[in-house]
Amino acid sequence: MDAVAPESIDVLDPVTRSVIWNKFLSISREMSTIIERSSQNFVTAELHDFCVGLFDAGGRSIAHYVGLPGQIGAGSLQVRALIDKFEGRIEPGDVFIMNDPYKGFGTHLPDITLFYPIFFEDVLVCYAMARGHQEDMGGSLPGGYFPGAYDIHAEGLVIPPTRIYARGEETPVYEFFLNNIRFPDGMRIDNQAMIAAMKVAERRLTEMLSQYGREPLLRYVDDMINSTERAVRQEISLIPDGIYRTEAATDDDGTNFDVPVWVRCTLTVKGDKLTFDFSESDKQVSFVNCPLSATYASVYSAVFTALSAEISSYHNEGSYRAIEIIAPPGLCINPVYPATVGAAPISLGTQVLECAAEALSKAVPKNVCAAWARHYGCGLIGTDPRTDERYVFLAHVSDGGSGAIWGYDGWPHISPWVCGGELVRAPVEMLEAYYPWHITRYELTTDSGGAGTYRGGLGIYWEAVNRGGPAILLTGDSDGDVTRGYTVLGGHMPDFFNKLTLTSPDGTVNQVRAHRQSKAETGDVLIQRTAGGGGVGDPFGRDVEAVLSDVVNEYVSLARAESEYGVVIDPHSMTVDHKATALRRAAQ
């Protein structure tokens, strides 16, 4: 490999620039592959609830690429917390762990973040990061998604930035930590997988550093960050200046039942800068509080999806610079110790994202999607009679659809938006083998997508019978029994909300609302029915053939085709009555 002589890089070489940039993205992909393929926990390996990243020695994000948007957005805050605490004492071979939302900019406690410093010629150059949602983090119930905890300590172990490997040797605190969670063997494998991924990043980066030299490489990193900032600012400058106000609520906080919690946002677009001010949001409550890192991540997600697709894989620190976020401490979007945060980053991360995106949609409606279905997927904790082992079932199998965006219908079953469609659902044939639940229905629901010129993605009907003993039912990560998001350009939301019911063998039906803890007895039938995403544009403007196809495929009912879309279809021949349709549409 030819080294570029340091003196020759006063002017950056455009080819080297492309090459280095793509190499960083390639490294992120490699890290992600290793974690996915070798993790043991369902949530990480099968559902892909994880992310990776690379940061420079000052904590700037270099490559913001792979993983759940809700998790990755705030890596820079985390690495800076690590630097603040350990600067000058970080050695090669160290591995750091953290999940503390207050001292370590974590999200909720099960999201464990590892950092691994990468040295070149004895100088700290980069940090690799890997973060995964773990099955358990201690606390009074497994899984983390339970409302009503007394304080954050009741939600689980709260870990500030902590060294678990020192110069490649395990430190005693690691065992102490593993001893205080429920599935230590699994956690160890998952951490191994994440460490292995970060070591691959180290190998690749070392190759790059040897090839280009440290100083030159860092200069290219500066350039990457600056170029991204320029491109993002350029796009923002095309957004009409103005002040846009929005608000969004979650059903409640799981302690004060039926009292919605509001996030409020004022977006100021001025020139090439966006300011999102959340100062008017509700005060901090319990459980649904959104730690600052998740608030940042959600705003970034909203902005990035409204920018051009061309740069969608290339965001880094530079992208954040044009975005100011005002989130005063003590509010639900920046809670302070000892507030509980179990539902983060889903609630209120979703509401922050919806507020930010809806505000943008008022300025550039054709670049922003309608709200996605709120997250819906309960947790079940019990014992499997086949093995007598404890299980924690968090499968996210009932999520609804995404919101439409101008020109494109929404997709079914890919919610929630804070996960950006990166979550993967578990196979029925694996769930039934792992958990004592017999699944009897798992299908799309007719008329569950919001109507519009572009239709929202459909929601799900998921039904299963408890074949195990009594199980604890947690609806902590669900939302949207009574609240929901926004639409764009006159599109509609679906006309029903998410709903979870338990039917006991004697036929009694009980609805279990979001953010509750309940019980599923043996033989109980659990039904989760989710709404779809919002529509975009007037439904009467939807292409008639598209409506016919929706009816033929039972995405939309005949009645709905007429009432919401103004398309009259003959039920016998299944053809459009164009005359009646024209009349119906003209009468609007």
Binding site: V15, E30, Q192, A309, H396, G410, I414, G421, E432, V552
Partner: protein, 685 residues
């Protein structure tokens, strides 16, 4: 007797003809897009002409034609398969549309993407009352009357194929098999595919979708292959028509018809065999790469094994059958260079294809491509493209490249070199990612490469990936067609057997292995193999208890017992460590799948040695021209050699170009090429 292989590419149809004695001939003819088999016949006519005989006379000599078809791949890519229906467990008819909630290969920040529709629309997916549980017990018996009514309804709607996909059929296939029987009775002309026969492994979305893909392309394949076969037989062909399948092996027509999903990527799957055939004498770790007009396709070979995968996505459809792990990126001679809003120079994946093609083709292409760059750098002689069959338009290449030069503020040749360099880096990164995925270090690998565009790029790619040696086979420009001459018959079988290692029952494992072997033996015998040619390779997929992805390791042949299980577990720990950089010796291990590959060896090709000579290649020097090698090295005098005049033992030191009829090889500065006994180029990077 002659053995003919045919690869139908997007631009050219390549044909290779071998004789037992070792002669190898290559022919190329433009692909015919209307009726693909016409392209094959054109190539055969060309071959007959070269041999001064009639087509009939040539065909009478041919005892085997091996074919790599793009018929099914194209049907999938262009969504032009047959109207297909689906019968599935009631309550689960949307599994193939739910797609496990995935968005594949799209940034979460890019929402302007059309939903990839299922191959069978919802209206033609019919739920049937039946249910088997995870333990294999029947919970709801199959409602046969519903099956019959459903098939009739699909038939009335004009469906030509039906996929039958029930939950847990990999444990208890009876319901699917019975439903298939009913379907065949009710609609004898319909193509019927069951998920059990397609791929009897767990995970319903993967199994169902694979089955649906097979049903969707099955009739297309049958029609295509029957037409080709009839055409060949009319012209006097009396031998066997064989097909390359997606696992890299060959199979006969009837076997392929029964499981048409195995015909996907049938052409590219033959490429790695070339890597194995030529590379084996130099290394046991090989990367095979094929760079054509629109794509760069790479595959890994370790210890004589072409590595396979069951993780394929093709045209947004999940296919979980075992396929050669060919990694394809959009980088080829036709790849277009452009700038994005970050001012980054990108090359590909957009391609000028063969129409209009690169600007220098003079067919109206105006955007700068890799081939245009190669012309401007002096690597391609505009007068000697495809051996002079096609004149290239250098001024058009210049005009196309100038905007790049202006944007970069460099000279035209520097801009061309930037395009050359960026596309090479992309391919080197792809090789790195491939290797990491398997836990390998690319620096330990030999790169065997070919394809029309490969010769000009591979040495640079190897250098960037830290690889030391490159082998460019003599038949590089018909890489896959030559590869089709090489594979054995092979069929892959899988059974699901989920147990912790401590709970494994030897009898049950033996029974499953023997069942698969019996099935494989039967299929291979039907394909014409002799019993003594048949052998089996057993493997098992293991994981640590609680993990979700398995690692496939060999299982010793013969009766399964405690010793063989110990060996399997030991290989598992080892391979896990190698692939993922860690293993956990104390942790419980479980087996998930048992697999058998049934193989019938085909006669090995023995190539004739070419004439020997001294190290100096002076006899083959035909010209000298200036080539550009980047700003630092600038323009350099570059010797040009005529490939057909080279003899074994010749050595060529870079910078040099070797011009073959179908491709040109660039030996860069400091690199050295040796001509081996068969006329292949071993290049020391």
């Amino acid at each position: 007797m002659l053995r003919v292989s045919v690869d139908i590419g997007g631009t050219f149809t390549d044909m290779v003809i071998t004789e037992p004695g070792g002669s190898v001939e290559m022919f190329k003819s433009p692909s015919t897009h209307g009726s693909l088999s016409d392209g094959v016949m054109n190539c055969l006519r060309k071959a007959a002409k070269a041999r001064n005989c009639s087509l009939d006379a040539l065909l009478a000599e041919v005892d085997t034609i091996i074919h790599g078809t793009t018929a099914t791949t194209n049907a999938l890519l262009t969504r032009s398969g047959v109207k297909t229906g689906m019968l599935t467990t009631k309550g689960f008819r949307d599994i193939i549309e739910l797609r496990r909630g995935m968005r594949v290969g799209v940034s979460p920040y890019n929402l302007k993407v059309k939903f990839p529709e299922a191959l069978v629309p919802r209206a033609r997916r019919i739920g049937i009352d039946e249910r088997v549980g995870p333990d294999g017990a029947v919970m709801t018996p199959l409602d046969e009357a519903q099956v019959e009514a459903a098939v009739r309804s699909l038939k009335d709607q004009g469906c030509e194929a039906v996929a039958i996909c029930f939950l847990y059929s990999y444990i208890r296939p009876e319901h699917e098999l019975r439903a298939a029987e009913i379907a065949r009775t009710v609609a004898p002309d319909m193509f019927v595919a069951t998920s059990y026969d397609t791929i009897p492994s767990s995970r319903e979305f993967e199994r169902f979708n694979t089955t649906v893909v097979g049903a969707y392309v099955g009739a297309i394949f049958a029609a295509y292959i029957d037409q080709l076969d009839a055409g060949l037989r009319q012209s006097g062909f009396k031998g066997h028509l064989l097909l390359i399948q997606s696992n890299g092996g060959i199979q006969d027509r009837d076997t392929a018809k029964r499981n048409p999903v195995t015909t996907l990527l049938s052409g590219p799957s033959a490429g790695p065999s070339v890597g194995l055939f030529f590379g084996n004498q130099y290394s046991n770790k090989i990367i095979s790469a094929d760079m054509g007009g629109t794509s760069f396709e790479a595959a890994l070979i370790q210890d004589n094994q072409i590595l396979l995968t069951s993780d394929t996505w093709l045209s947004e459809q999940r296919i979980a059958a075992k396929m050669v792990d060919v990694h394809s990126i959009g980088a080829g001679g036709g790849s277009i260079a452009s700038f994005d809003s970050l001012d980054l120079l990108r090359v590909g994946p957009k391609s000028a294809g063969s129409r209009p093609g690169p600007a220098c083709y003079g067919r109206g292409g105006a955007e700068p491509t890799v081939t245009d760059a190669n012309v401007l750098l002096g690597y391609i002689d505009p007068e000697f493209f495809l051996g002079g069959e096609m004149l290239l338009d250098r001024p058009a290449a210049e005009a196309a490249m100038d905007p790049i030069a202006r944007r970069l503020d460099v000279s035209r040749e520097e801009a061309a070199f930037a395009v050359y360099d960026v596309v090479n880096e992309g391919m080197a990164d792809a090789l790195n990612e491939r290797c990491t995925k398997r836990g390998f270090d690319p620096r330990e690998f030999l790169l065997v490469a070919g394809g029309g565009a490969g010769g000009l790029h591979v040495v640079e790619i190897a250098k960037k990936a830290g690889m030391k040696r490159v082998l460019i086979p003599k038949f590089a420009s018909a890489y896959c067609a030559f590869g089709m001459q090489l594979p054995d018959f092979s069929q892959d079988y899988v059974r699901t057997y989920s147990r912790r290692i401590a709970a494994v029952e030897f009898d049950a494992m033996n029974a499953l292995y023997e069942e698969m072997e019996a099935e494989g033996r039967l299929v291979l015998l039907k394909s014409g193999a002799r019993p003594d040619q048949i052998r089996f390779e057993r493997t098992a997929d293991l994981r640590y208890v609680g993990q979700f992805h398995e690692v496939e390791v060999p299982c010793p042949a013969g009766e399964v017992g405690a010793a063989s299980i110990d060996a399997v577990v030991a290989s598992f720990h080892h391979k896990h460590e190698q692939t993922y950089a860690f293993s956990m010796q104390g942790r419980h291990v479980e087996v998930v799948y048992l697999r058998v590959r049934a193989i019938a060896q085909t006669p090995a090709i023995r190539l004739k040695e070419i004439a020997k000579g001294a190290s100096s290649a002076v006899q083959a020097r035909k010209a000298e021209r200036l080539c550009f090698f980047g700003k630092r090295d600038g323009w350099q005098k570059t010797e040009v050699y005529e490939a057909s005049a080279l003899v074994s033992g010749n050595e060529i030191t870079g910078p040099a170009l070797i011009e073959e009829a179908g491709s040109t090889i660039l030996v860069p500065n400091k690199a050295r090429a040796e001509i081996d006994a068969h006329g292949n180029y071993l290049i020391h990077v």
